[in-house]
Subunit: 455 residues, 2 copies
């Protein structure tokens, strides 16, 4: 049911561009939603993208621009003049999208574009939105909303709303403000529509006054949590004096949720910048190399630790056989433990939970796991007819590293969180590398003891 | 601004329960949103939970129940009689939540509860919802919606809507159906409210007919993608004959998004079931052990491979020093490559992209990475005064495993996706284990060659 970009569609567009068959392109794109047109343009090279974009009608082109991937949008914006951006793009999109577009322009072009905006109110709104720091409610909100005065009658309010409704595409709720523009309450559209109130009733007598709100400097994560927890479709944003300055709608929050999920997933996979399959190799290397270098440094450190046990390896080179098993298990257990803590912190589930209670629970999980894995590897080595010394060394070391890796995996993200660092950092190669090293140290220390006991 | 459960609050509740001071509990919870009361009950032990739950007013208790964690809800439901569930809970919540509650009951209790529902329509709705498979739009939708006939006048439709509006808490849009209840169009509340249409206009002349819809058997992932892409706050659900049967609202989709993000993150971290910090140790072990066993099996296989090269280790036990470095780097690169593919598949960015084009891009990333890491480790070993044979072995092997790990990491999720298996499986311990093994094989093979060249 949903449109999907396929290779045949892309080929048709590319061929039509190559042959200059504009009407064929217009016919194909004419039936599509701006988001779908954007998905096609995202996959074209720059020259074809500009060609197709120029064929779109002004208003549709603006909607498409908003839906493009960031890289492609920046490239297309660079091909537009400041006047085109001010008059053809910004004129037709919501203020929050306009601020996003502006933020992608070089500073000089930003100034040019702002100077070219005719409507004073639109210009001021945009300038205001650009002042909010990234990651705050202010940077996410749009200025378009419908508000009425608390002391107005229903009849008066309806006239006011009708006038404002022309400027606002999606209306979910009507905001009620006092005479100083402070947020007083909300009036769900449904109540207004289906209530049988007299038109002379005052708005303040029928509106809801217990209203969730956020401030312009509220963190977007808090915005996401509020919206998810209270199932509200739109949140009003107020300034430090409780003055209503904007609203954040569910679709913006969904975008933030997607970005945050991708970021966590990438951190856990050892990718440090926001990259995707369409980024250039150099950008990808930049995002990936730091983690590999941490791993490399850890590997060099490991080699130094093993070197200290070279004598042990000369006694029994077979000890090398199980180094990967020990290191890998330590890494896997550590990642699991830290993932559970990271998610617990993100969902608020670990709020009010004491660190020792958390460690105690994790220890019980680790003991069961360690017993199962220890017995299995003991049986396997027994079956494979390994020496007693090696069999005991591997089993005891495995048992021990599972316990220590679980403890490290739990403590590190909790510690990072206390230090106000994103605990998701802990589940990546960082915790794996640390557990690799610690695992090997344990293994050879146990080996040293066992080969004394079972010479 | 948002309420947070803190230890002092929990302590106050626990003490009040212990001392039977019901009014103190009621005073504390009375100011809170059901979602916040649920967050408190989630953190209490079962006995205290039941005590607090019983203090709530019927309607509020039902709302709280819906917001609880699944485990806690199941426990509380077990403490309620079938009659209490039918009359006190299901009566006060939306049909989609009611279906979720029912799905958590044992089959026999389900039958009892259904038989105790007085309202025939509510009973039929619930029975219908329970027939849809988990993970489909049907299982996610609610039956509560407002619909009017396409051939009705605006005046007639407003009367119909007003009547239905009593049953529906949140109204975002009015659905328009034909005489056979097939979805004909939608009427955004805003248009109806602020349009100046005559009350004798027919609805079909003013409604929008180009409407996104999903079928009861549409996958929820598709529902999420549609809602995110087209920024719609509510999606109508139709059956195979295009008959309007329900609607899915943004808040349900946000919950699905959160669950999916958690699931992907857990898969990448080697956790196979949906567990969280509050689950019992046994449940956690069950979710975590399978991946550790895969790692263990991989470790045993590694030991067999290294055993084949025991002669090589006897020639130079120092070769063991760099096994962890090779295995870890191979694992890290593989996870990075697969993570980029998994996200590309999830976002649709890799749709219409040819496998060879993807591999070629990844190869370029890998070559740059491999050169940087290869040169670094060569310099480090040169500085550490290792033998020429070992220095060359480690560098060449590292270079090679980065290339092969990147290729494996790219191919495996693409292959899983073709086989209709969740590609997120690939980024977990599976790809790490495979790359560990392949990395060691490469390392010793290169070593075998190098020690011939530099004896």
């Amino acid at each position: 049911m949903s449109f999907e970009v396929t290779k045949p569609i892309l080929d048709r567009v590319r061929n039509s561009v190559a042959e200059g068959r504009d009407s064929a392109i217009e016919a194909l794109l004419g039936q599509l939603h701006p988001a779908d047109i954007a998905a096609i343009i995202d996959r074209l090279d720059l020259e074809d993208s500009v060609y197709v974009y120029r064929l779109l009608e002004t208003e549709e082109a603006a909607d498409v621009l908003v839906e493009l991937e960031e890289d492609k949008r920046e490239q297309l914006l660079a091909s537009l003049t400041s006047r085109e951006i001010a008059e053809d793009v910004l004129e037709h999109i919501d203020s929050d999208d306009a601020a996003d577009v502006m933020a992608e322009l070089p500073e000089e072009k930003q100034r040019e574009v702002i100077a070219l905006i005719d409507d004073a109110e639109q210009r001021e709104d945009l300038q205001e939105l650009l002042t909010y720091a990234e990651g705050t409610a202010g940077a996410l909100m749009a200025k378009e909303l419908i508000s009425v005065r608390a002391d107005a009658t229903v009849a008066r309010a309806i006239v006011d709303m009708r006038q404002q409704a022309r400027e606002v595409d999606h209306v979910y709720t009507i905001y009620v403000v006092d005479k100083d523009d402070r947020l007083y309450g909300i009036l769900p559209l449904k109540d207004l529509m289906f209530s049988a109130e007299s038109t002379r009733t005052l708005i303040k007598h029928i509106c809801e006054t217990d209203v969730q709100r956020v401030r312009t400097d509220t963190d977007v994560e808090e915005v996401v949590n509020l919206m998810k927890k209270y199932d509200v479709v739109v949140l009003p944003v107020v300034d430090a004096h409780d003055k209503l300055v904007g609203r954040i709608t569910f679709d913006d929050v969904m975008d933030v949720m997607t970005e945050e999920a991708e970021e966590d997933y990438q951190l856990a996979s050892g990718i440090s910048e926001d990259v995707d399959a369409s980024d250039s190799p150099v950008v990808q290397v930049r995002a990936r190399l730091p983690w590999l270098l941490i791993g490399l440094a850890g590997g060099i450190l490991s080699s130094q630790i093993i070197a200290r046990f070279e004598g042990q390896l000369r006694i029994d080179p077979k000890m090398a056989f199980f180094m990967p098993l020990i290191a890998a298990t330590a890494g896997n257990v550590g990642v699991q433990s830290s993932a559970i803590v990271v998610q617990g912190l993100a969902s608020g589930m670990l709020a009010g939970v004491n660190i020792f209670a958390r460690l105690w629970k994790e220890l019980r999980v680790a003991v069961i796991t360690a017993i199962v894995c220890g017995v299995l590897i003991f049986s396997a080595n027994f079956a494979l007819d390994q020496t007693q010394a090696l069999t005991w060394t591997v089993s005891i070391a495995l048992f021990t590293v599972i316990l220590t890796a679980a403890m490290f995996g739990t403590l590190i993200p909790l510690a990072l969180d206390r230090m106000k660092v994103d605990p998701a950092l802990a589940t990546g190669p960082f915790v794996t590398t640390l557990n690799d090293i610690f695992g090997l140290l344990t293994y050879f220390t146990v080996g040293h003891l066992m080969y004394d006991i079972f010479p």
